[in-house]
């Protein structure tokens, strides 16, 4: 069935069923990925898929359903199951469907250059990257995964208030996960690069960084527990920020599930810190002009020189607070699209000098379980280096770092100038914090 006909059928059946308004979102995805290990294709994915999401509104209450096939059965499934969901939804919060108000920038169109590359060349990319990593240094013992992948999605939203929006986004990702060994203890190295064009992704840089990271960890030891001055390297700062992004969700704030409740327009971080949500950020591969509720996106700082300036709002949370929605509903609700932290003055090397004595945290594990967004508390596994007299003296393993995210943000002493695209949606520098709790062993 054509999308246009499907849409008409769903809208008319929904009206008949009793919904006041409704909306359909189509998400068509194309994915490709190849994983190489020991010069063999270990995993490979070539996929096209569609997901259709229905939102029906009645008495200002929203109900949802989704399907993956566009046919007569799906028309009934979407509307009937959403209607049953409506019957049990007893929230007092009013939801709505966007009428297209607000200022939209031009819809984005992703020129998918990755798709034009022959499959064989993409497989070769992963094979060559693995080979280069193995040849980089004789201490590189194995490549667990050498990966080349890309994805594109086209999103379209139509509703009974006349909204009709469509755009596409996509990115390419390459990464290397390898192991170095000195014959005693294996150490890992993992590097990922993202880009919106094949040329953005430099395999030599991935090889060098992954291999050097693993080699530099050889001989690592734990350090005694205590409070340490610390540098959170840009990738670590980014991961920690992302793990705590739910605390900026207006819906969670309103429900008493965020430590930022009541803190709007107050100082929550060092005045050196500004954090921006930039849905059009040039260096980030994914750009969007509207969110998954059809609300226009916009660039905004949410921490401005240490002050919390906004929460991320959905239609529902904005209505409750009597303000405009902020265009921040994506795969998850009330989240930023691209997080950008403007660079500070200090080079990474200068930050190490300024640290003088302490730890550089270079990798975290366990962020999915060691983070409590209700309180802001965290305790996670970490790796890094120990610094004395402003220079790295040894690699560190088997430690945890813990603290409260709001204390960490306040204790930022300085910000590096080493901003980089450390994930598909964050461009951040390293930061120096006055203290962090470390648990370890040894003396």
């Amino acid at each position: 069935m054509r999308i246009e006909d499907f849409k008409d059928k769903v809208f008319s059946y929904a009206k008949k069923k009793g919904f006041d308004e409704c909306e359909l979102r189509f998400n068509r995805e194309r994915e490709f990925g190849v994983v190489v290990s020991k010069q063999n294709i270990d995993n490979y994915n070539d996929a096209d898929s569609l997901r259709v999401t229905f939102k029906g509104l009645k008495d200002s209450k929203a109900a949802f359903s989704s399907c993956e096939i566009v046919d007569e059965d799906s028309v009934e499934f979407l509307v009937n199951s959403a209607y049953e969901n409506f019957l049990v939804t007893d929230t007092l919060e009013e939801d709505s469907i966007h009428d297209g108000s607000g200022e939209y920038s031009d819809p984005r169109h992703f020129e998918d250059e990755f798709e034009k590359i022959p499959v064989k060349s993409k497989i070769d990319f992963a094979k060559i990257m693995e080979q280069k990593a193995m040849n980089f240094d004789k201490r590189i013992a194995m490549v667990m995964m050498s990966v080349y992948s890309h994805e594109r999605y086209e999103i379209s939203i139509f509703n009974t208030k006349g909204l009709s929006l469509s755009e596409s986004a996509g990115l390419g990702v390459a990464y290397l996960y390898l192991v170095a060994s000195d014959g005693k203890t294996p150490k890992r190295g993992l590097k990922v690069r993202f880009g919106s064009r094949p040329n953005d992704i430099d395999p030599d840089r991935i090889v060098t960084e992954a291999a050097q990271e693993a080699i530099s960890q050889l001989g690592a030891e734990s350090i005694p527990s205590g409070k340490y001055r610390a540098i959170l390297r840009r990738n670590v700062f980014s991961e920690l920020l992302f793990a705590f992004m739910p605390i900026f969700s207006a819906e969670l704030v309103q429900k008493g599930l965020s430590p930022l409740k009541g803190k709007l327009n107050s100082k929550i971080a060092s005045e050196k810190l500004t954090i921006i949500d930039d849905p059009f950020f040039e260096k980030a591969p994914i750009k969007r002009s509207f969110d998954n509720e059809g609300v226009p996106t916009k660039e905004k700082s949410f921490i401005d020189q240490g002050v919390l300036t906004t929460y991320f709002h959905s239609l529902k949370s904005a209505k409750r607070d009597g303000i405009e929605p902020t265009g921040n509903v994506f795969t998850y609700k009330c989240v930023p699209l691209n997080v950008v932290v403007p660079a500070g003055q200090k080079s990474y090397q200068d930050l190490i000098k300024q640290l003088d004595r302490g730890v550089i945290v270079t990798a975290l594990d366990g962020l999915h379980s060691g983070v409590r967004t209700v309180s802001g508390e965290f305790s996670v596994s970490a790796l890094g280096y120990y610094v004395e007299n402003g220079a790295i003296v040894k690699p560190v393993e088997q430690i945890t770092i813990s603290g409260n995210i709001l204390e960490v943000l306040k204790s930022i002493e300085d910000i590096g100038d080493d901003c980089d695209l450390v994930s598909g949606s964050s461009y951040v520098p390293s930061v120096l914090v006055e203290y962090i709790d470390v648990a370890g062993s040894g003396s």
Partner: protein
């Protein structure tokens, strides 16, 4: 789900083009997700997933593709692309005889999710909400989530196998928040099973809510956990996440076959202390991680992984089975048709030992008692693992003295399983979602109460 003639033509096409193995996996899944906040249903959604995955092997390489366009034309075109990617050519002409495999159902379901109204499900959530809310006046917020799904799968492969199965899962998850002065802490409890709503005849939703609230209420009154290396007594049930992370993942063929696991090449060797025996059992009736057949059509089984400290077997899927020269033992799993399957755990647990849990605590001079766990993760190549304690207590002079807040525990798998020195007799299991390269799958972890002589506790120093 798919016409048998189409299936046969696709499989024969793959084989006649030179593939060693061809597999078709189709899935039709209906699910419900509901969220109740502060006693009211905030969001209710229903979803139907429907798609097909195609996979072929040749000379130790595998390629996968999926789509939700089920036409023969689309499937055949995808197969062509996979054949091209492997750069294979056919020489022989043969035709596979497809045989329907009888799948014996060991997981009886009384009420299929679609037969039960959403309002029945909302009533269960409401009870859980009340259980949490009524637990203590410190409980400031309660979030109850309810999930269920009914998944039908179809698997056909070039060994001539055609198998179909139907899987039902139901889970209730409660997060309670306790507020005291200006501090907030949360507690979580989320039991589930491979059955329908009859789960709540075995398990009172009120108690599920109360358990989440109990943890939050204790933790908001607790001090920070201590920092550093110390003995840790880990409680039963979800405490088994330590074995899952420290050892289980590193026994999966996914990393063993490449030699990328700290336990590769150690079959028959002593890898754990004498008191450790552990199994992965995908056959337990109605358990959260059980299936009749795995996602490659192989019947699940009870695999004895470690016996008295000696490594007995790995978890092996079809693709890695050839590389390792070990038969697949029924653990090829995937989240859904969007993933190629690989070796995964199902219900994994340490077998009971001889001690009463009280004896283990009494024998500990100083350390942490980890009563409730959160999730964890591991790097199988280095063995570095972590898992979170959601509810902890200090042990001093053989007694539990005071509650301490959550902290992450870390260690290296190969060391830690040799440092388990006491195993209790109170085996029990808990439910979680396990994430890996083939997606997120339901898995039980389990153990009796155990003691590890040293682990690094990620608390704060005083």
């Amino acid at each position: 789900m798919l016409e048998s003639k189409i299936v046969e033509r696709l499989i024969n096409k793959g084989i006649n083009n030179g593939a060693d193995f061809v597999e078709i996996f189709a899935e039709d899944r209906c699910g419900t997700e509901m969220t109740m906040i502060d006693g009211r249903v905030e969001v209710a959604s229903s979803g139907r997933e429907f798609g097909v995955g195609l996979r072929i092997f040749k000379n130790g390489q595998q390629v996968y593709a999926y789509t939700n366009d089920l036409s023969e034309k689309q499937l055949s075109m995808i197969l062509d692309r996979l054949i091209d990617a492997l750069e294979i050519k056919g020489s022989e002409k043969r035709s596979i005889n497809m045989m329907n495999k009888d799948v014996k159902n060991s997981h009886l379901v009384f009420f299929y999710p679609q037969e039960i109204s959403k309002s029945e499900k909302a009533k269960i959530m409401k009870k859980a909400h009340e259980g949490a809310k009524n637990y203590s006046n410190l409980i400031s917020q309660v979030v109850v989530r309810y999930w269920d799904y009914d998944q039908r799968i179809f698997i056909a492969n070039s060994d001539g196998l055609i198998a179909q199965d139907r899987r039902v899962r139901t889970r209730l998850m409660v997060s309670a928040v306790a507020t005291k002065d200006s501090e907030q802490e949360s507690g979580f409890f989320g039991p589930g099973a491979a059955m329908g709503i009859e789960l709540f005849n075995l398990l009172d939703p009120y108690d599920v809510g109360a358990e989440a609230a109990r943890i939050a209420d204790r933790m908001v009154r607790a001090e920070y956990a201590p920092a550093g290396k110390m003995p840790v007594v880990i409680s039963n049930a979800f405490g088994g996440v330590i074995f899952h992370e420290a050892c289980g993942h590193a026994l999966e063929a996914t990393s063993v076959a490449k030699g990328a696991s700290v336990f590769a090449g150690k079959l028959g060797q002593k890898i754990a202390s004498d008191c450790v025996s552990a199994v992965d059992d995908g056959t337990i009736p109605n358990a959260w991680g059980s299936n009749n057949i795995d996602d490659e059509g192989t019947p699940t089984q009870r695999n004895l992984l470690i016996e008295n400290g000696v490594l007995k077997t790995y978890l092996v899927d079809r693709f890695h089975s050839k590389k390792m020269g070990i038969e697949s033992n029924g653990c090829g799993r995937r989240q859904n048709y969007r993933f190629a399957p690989t070796s995964r755990m199902s219900n994994t647990f340490i077998l009971p030992g001889k001690y009463l849990p009280e004896e283990i605590i009494a024998a500990t001079d100083y350390g942490l008692y980890a009563k409730t766990m959160g999730g964890g993760s591991v790097h199988p190549a280095t063995g570095e693992f972590n898992f979170a304690v959601a509810e902890g207590y200090l042990i001093e002079k053989g007694k539990i003295t005071k509650p301490v807040r959550g902290a992450t525990l870390i260690g290296k798998g190969a060391d830690v399983i040799q440092r388990i020195d006491m195993v209790g007799n109170d085996l029990s299991r808990g439910q979680g979602m396990c994430g890996s390269i083939s997606g997120s799958v339901p898995a039980d972890v389990g153990q009796p109460t155990i003691r590890v002589t040293e682990l690094i506790v990620g608390g704060r120093s005083r």
